[in-house]
Every structure is written in structure tokens, then in C-alpha cells.
């Protein structure tokens, strides 16, 4: 065997030769680089976009054998719905439900903002998606990444990467998607509404809330247990004040570790064969429709509450019902201040915002109940 033959053998067994055999992988590698650009340069949800993009890159490099080893075992956390639930544990430990407890009527706006889930579900059916897949696509409208991933992992595994990428891309684009809709659906007078300061919430209420929500919601829809149960457990760790170490771990170390595993695993599901199809483009478009209708649903509930309360509720806080904590609440604050510089809507918008987290978990639980069997 001479040097030329050895070099030829190395090339023939290399990933470059693999790319020549399957050029679609090259397209996926370019797509992974584009996602990395979005995450790093454009800062679109970088905490998840970068791991997802790197997962796409790793899985599409030919002849690595990763999909039978590391990626296979990491992906079990997605397949069994473990990672999204653990992310919810961290989210619960980071969430302050005080604004919601102080103003429970904001739950209605959180419910209204789930409208997009069911609209996108119907539209996906019209486009010919299987009902299970349509349900998973609809949940993108909840603007909650872990919820969308959990639902997709149970109902539409083959479309998981497209759904996850669409969900996180639109969550990052909320400051661009929502403001035009907010201005379109509300009047100048409504946007100028200044809301009164809410009451102080006692420690006892904060402690009882997660326990009561877990009992009632999970008893009514048991399929919400992985999301609502962990969300409320995380919140209880935070509110008791006796488990600071656990709360700190849930908020930081655990969440960070799980996000790395989750991102890599989801990205690694994006292989050329299933990803480079017309269906992926349809899912991306349906995701945008879901987001838009959810925003409109929340705003409409906000407008109803504005009328019912005699102008005490600013309808702009309704759009924050599309979970995406706290980005959507910040958008309400910014739009409110544009209309009236003395308007401070952030704390008021946090009520519908965290209500949206519960609402989208309930909607996902409903979809799993209907289509999961």
C-alpha cells in the first residue's frame, strides 16, 4: 500500500466523501450555520438556539456514529418528556406569581391568548396534517418552548425539530411580531390607560398557591402533571424560603444542564430526510399564524376587560398572555409607554404572562389527552 492509496482510503472513509454521497447533509450543515448566526449574531434566544443549532450540525456531519451513541442516549430525555418537565421546574423557581395572585382576573387574558393554539390546529388540519401533528403544531401558539417540545415529542416526533425551531424563533421575534398587532387591535385611548397599583401578596398566599394549583389542575387534567406539577414544585421551592439551595439549583445549575441536553437532542433530530421538506416550511408559517392569533386573542380579552371594568384595565397587557416570560410583558410595557410615558404596565402584564404559562400547559395537556392515546 503506497502513500497515495493510504490518502485515498482516508478520504473515502472521511465525512467529505459522505457529503458527496448525500449532498442534502451539506444543506443541513449550512442551515445549522444559519441558526448559529441567528443565535450568536442576532441573539435570537441564544441559550437554546445555539445548542439546537449545534445539534443540527453534529447530527448532519456524516459517518460520526453519534446518532447511535451520545445523541441517542441524550435524546431519551426528550422522548420520555423528561427535559421539558425539568425546564419547567426551573421556570417555576424563577417565576413570581405575585402579580397573578394580586389580580386573578388576568387569568382570563392568559386563557384568551391560547386562541392561536386552536386556530393553528384547525389550519394544520386544512393543510392535510395528521390530527396528532396538527395538535403539536398548534401548541407553538402557546409561545412556550418546553411545552411545544413535550407535546411534539409525544405526538409528532418526526416534526419535533421544525416545531422547536419555529417556537423558539418566534419567541425571539415577539418584539417584532406583537407591536403591529397591538396597535392594530387597540385604540389610542385604550393604550393610554393607566392601571392602579395592585395589592401586596402575603407569604402564606404565595405558599398555598402552588400547592392548590397542583392539586386542582392535575386532578382535573392528569396529563398536565409533567408541566404544571413541576412548574408549581419549582415555585414552591422558591416561595417557602426554607429550600433556597434547591431553588437555586433548579433556577441555575439544573436548568442550564438540561437546556444543553435538550437543545442538542432536539437539534440532532433535524436530519435532512425529514427536515428538508415542504412540511417544515408549512410548520414555520403555521407557527407564525399561531403566535399572531394568540396575541390577538389576548388583546381581545383585554379589550373586553377594559369595557367591563369601565376603563380600568389596559388591553395591551392581554398580549402578554402568550407565555414567553418575560419578553411578552416587556413588549406590553414598551407599547404602553409609547402611548403614555407615565404608563408602567410591566407588573400588570406579568399577571397574564404567567397565566399564559399555565394556560398553554393546560392546552397542551388537553391535546395530549385527546390525541395521546
Amino acid at each position: 500500500m503506497n502513500i497515495l492509496e493510504i490518502l485515498m482510503m482516508i478520504f473515502q472513509e472521511s465525512g467529505f466523501a459522505g457529503l458527496l454521497e448525500d449532498p442534502k447533509s451539506l444543506v443541513m450543515i449550512l442551515f445549522a450555520c444559519f441558526l448559529l448566526y441567528l443565535g450568536i449574531h442576532k441573539k435570537y434566544e441564544p441559550l437554546l438556539m445555539i445548542p439546537i443549532a449545534f445539534g443540527v450540525l453534529l447530527t448532519n456531519l456524516p459517518r460520526t456514529g453519534l446518532s447511535e451513541g451520545l445523541i441517542h442516549y441524550l435524546s431519551l430525555g426528550v422522548e420520555y418528556g423528561i427535559y421539558p418537565s425539568l425546564v419547567f421546574l426551573g421556570t417555576g423557581a424563577m417565576t413570581d406569581f405575585g402579580p397573578l395572585i394580586a389580580n386573578p382576573s388576568s387569568l382570563l387574558m392568559g386563557a384568551g391568548a391560547q386562541f392561536g393554539i386552536f386556530t393553528a390546529f384547525l389550519m394544520a388540519l386544512v393543510l392535510g396534517f395528521d390530527p396528532k401533528v396538527a395538535a403539536a403544531i398548534g401548541v407553538i401558539g402557546g409561545a412556550d418552548g418546553p411545552t411545544a417540545i413535550l407535546t411534539a415529542s409525544k405526538l409528532a416526533m418526526e416534526y419535533l425539530p421544525a416545531i422547536a425551531i419555529a417556537a423558539y424563533s418566534y419567541m425571539a421575534l415577539i418584539p417584532m411580531i406583537q407591536p403591529p398587532l397591538m396597535r392594530l387591535c387597540t385604540t389610542e385611548t385604550e393604550r393610554k390607560t393607566v392601571m392602579k397599583q395592585t395589592r401586596t401578596v402575603s407569604k402564606k398566599e404565595r405558599i398555598i398557591f402552588p400547592i392548590a394549583v397542583t392539586i386542582f389542575v392535575v386532578l382535573l387534567i392528569p396529563d398536565t402533571a409533567p408541566l404544571v406539577g413541576m412548574l408549581m414544585f419549582g415555585n414552591l421551592l422558591k416561595e417557602t424560603g426554607l429550600t433556597d439551595r434547591l431553588s437555586d439549583t433548579a433556577q441555575n445549575a439544573l436548568t442550564n444542564i438540561v437546556i444543553i441536553f435538550l437543545g442538542i437532542s432536539v437539534g440532532a433530530k433535524a436530519v435532512a430526510g425529514t427536515f428538508l421538506t415542504l412540511r417544515t416550511i408549512e410548520i414555520v408559517i403555521l407557527g407564525l399564524i399561531a403566535f399572531s392569533f394568540s396575541t390577538i386573542g389576548g388583546l381581545m380579552l383585554g379589550k373586553i376587560m377594559y369595557k367591563v371594568t369601565g376603563g380600568k384595565v389596559n388591553p395591551l397587557i392581554g398580549s402578554a398572555g402568550v407565555s414567553a416570560v418575560p419578553m411578552a410583558a416587556r413588549v406590553s410595557q414598551m407599547e404602553g409607554q409609547k402611548a403614555n410615558p407615565n404608563n408602567y404596565l410591566l407588573m400588570h402584564a406579568m399577571g397574564p404572562n404567567v397565566a399564559g404559562v399555565i394556560g398553554s400547559a393546560v392546552a397542551a395537556g388537553f391535546m395530549l389527552k385527546i390525541f395521546g392515546a
Binding site: S105, I117, P131, K132, K204, E205, V362
Partner: protein, 106 residues
């Protein structure tokens, strides 16, 4: 899995309704929690007030008891000195000490 239009609409409508009902139920739960906590706090305040009242009444009872000390071969001035010394030595305020009798030893 196939689904007709009516069935799809029914599922979408019932899903949206379920989310609404669930969150309305949570609203009621939050109101109930608030009422429960408020009544608990009110009960705590009443208990504290009752304890404060009882404490305020206690010294009067003890003062009344002072008048019942049996003094045997001891004049009132000496008894007062003894009570003050006991209080000082034991570091217990005089109002918290009860003397049944003070007797002069042979």
C-alpha cells in the same frame, strides 16, 4: 387518523373552553386562598390582642397578692427590703415574684 370538519371544530372549541374553565377555576381558587389567609391573619391578630390584654391584667393580680403576704415578726419596711434583695439576687423582676410569707428567724 382522519377527522371531519365538524369533529375538528368541536375539538378546537372544547379545548379552548377547557382552558377557559380551568383558568376561571384557578381564579376562584385564588380568591378562596385570599379569603382563607385573610381570616387566618385576622384570627392571629385577635389572638395576639387577647394575649396582650391578659399580660396587661396579670401585674394587677400579682400586686393584689402582695397584700396577702404573711409577715411574722417582720415590719413592712424590712419585708420590702428583703423582697428587693431577693429580686436583685435572682435577677427576677419584683412583679414576677410571689412571696407567701416572710418570717424572722430566732
Amino acid at each position: 387518523m382522519k377527522m371531519d370538519v365538524l369533529q375538528a371544530l368541536m375539538i378546537a372549541a372544547s379545548g379552548f373552553l377547557t382552558v377557559f374553565l380551568m383558568l376561571v377555576l384557578l381564579w376562584l381558587i385564588i380568591v378562596l386562598i385570599n379569603k382563607f389567609v385573610t381570616s387566618m391573619e385576622r384570627a392571629d391578630v385577635q389572638k395576639e390582642m387577647a394575649e396582650e390584654t391578659a399580660e396587661a391584667e396579670e401585674p394587677e393580680e400579682r400586686l393584689a397578692y402582695v397584700g396577702e403576704i404573711a409577715l411574722l415578726n417582720v415590719d413592712e419596711k424590712t419585708a420590702a427590703c428583703i423582697m428587693a434583695i431577693v429580686s436583685d439576687e435572682t435577677k427576677i423582676p419584683l412583679s414576677q415574684l410571689i412571696f407567701h410569707s416572710i418570717r424572722a428567724l430566732d
